[in-house]
């Protein structure tokens, strides 16, 4: 989680986003909750998450939603 974040060169960042933009990433993050992603998908997803705050937040938001659902169902005791 708290890996030191090295600022990647612009060209590398561009290549990563070109292969997988935020919209594609949101699809993968969502699908990750339902199905195992392919190795290639996981690879580009990890790279993208490394450089993109918004998508990292999105991935985290999805986990919160899952936890909230469980919490909501079990709230009696």
């Amino acid at each position: 989680m708290t890996l030191p974040r090295i600022k990647l060169p612009m060209l590398v960042r561009r290549t990563i986003v070109k292969n997988l933009n935020c919209k594609d990433v949101s699809v993968l993050i969502s699908r990750q909750h339902d199905q195992l992603l392919t190795t290639g998908e996981r690879f580009w997803l990890r790279l993208h998450l490394y450089i993109c705050n918004g998508c990292r937040n999105f991935a985290n938001n999805m986990q919160v939603i899952r936890a909230a659902m469980k919490h909501y169902l079990d709230k009696d005791k």
Binding site: S30, R31, F58, M62, V64, Y72
Partner: protein
């Protein structure tokens, strides 16, 4: 016979104690008080009649939930027979609704924010109310698929089959559902906290 390992005794009282949980579960999926109550009532009845089949290998709650799932599916089939969800307002526009959240180059129009420590929100009663409201506000069809996945924990294959939709459509629906629930929580809760 080891008395310590004896299964949880089934009595009307022990079954009844799970009623609220079962009702919340059914209501998330069915979104109709009457249908949810029917499903729960059928479940409790079936549980009492079939008490002998409860092996004690799983918890009573898990066993009851298993029965409830079947009763919910029955109710869903009844619902779609009696009043099919009107297509139009939230169908076809599924992928458009997703597209609307992104710029043309695929960047977020409004990047998701950091929600901080989720436990803090989960402990807050007001958050749970907002969550319930946001879940209720989800478009009907997407919500149905989403709850089948997140509440009933069915596989996407099972969901596609039950809803008679294509796999692709199923993915889009689940994605849209998550995006719309997220938007609502961001707007009504997390955006207001900081």
């Amino acid at each position: 016979m080891n008395s310590e390992a004896s299964p949880e005794a089934i009595s009307t009282a022990s079954i009844e104690s799970h009623r609220n949980y079962l009702l919340r579960y059914a209501l998330l999926q069915l979104r109709d008080q009457g249908a949810a109550e029917d499903a729960v009532q059928d479940t409790l009845l079936a549980a009492l009649q079939g008490a002998a089949r409860f092996s004690g290998k799983s918890s009573l709650k898990t066993w009851l939930t298993g029965i409830l799932k079947h009763k919910i599916i029955d109710q869903m089939r009844r619902q779609s027979r009696e009043q099919p969800l009107v297509s139009g307002d939230d169908e076809g526009s599924e992928s458009e609704a997703v597209d609307a959240l992104f710029l043309e180059d695929g960047h977020w129009r409004q990047p998701p924010s950091n929600w901080g420590d989720p436990d803090k929100a989960l402990e807050n009663k007001a958050f749970i109310e907002v969550f319930e409201q946001c879940a209720k506000n989800m478009p009907a069809k997407t919500a149905r698929a989403f709850m089948m996945r997140e509440v009933m924990e069915l596989s996407t294959d099972e969901i596609c089959k039950e809803l008679e939709i294509s796999t692709t459509n199923c993915w889009v629906m689940l994605h849209r559902a998550r995006l719309s629930l997220r938007e609502c929580l961001e707007l009504k809760w997390f955006g207001k906290q900081s």
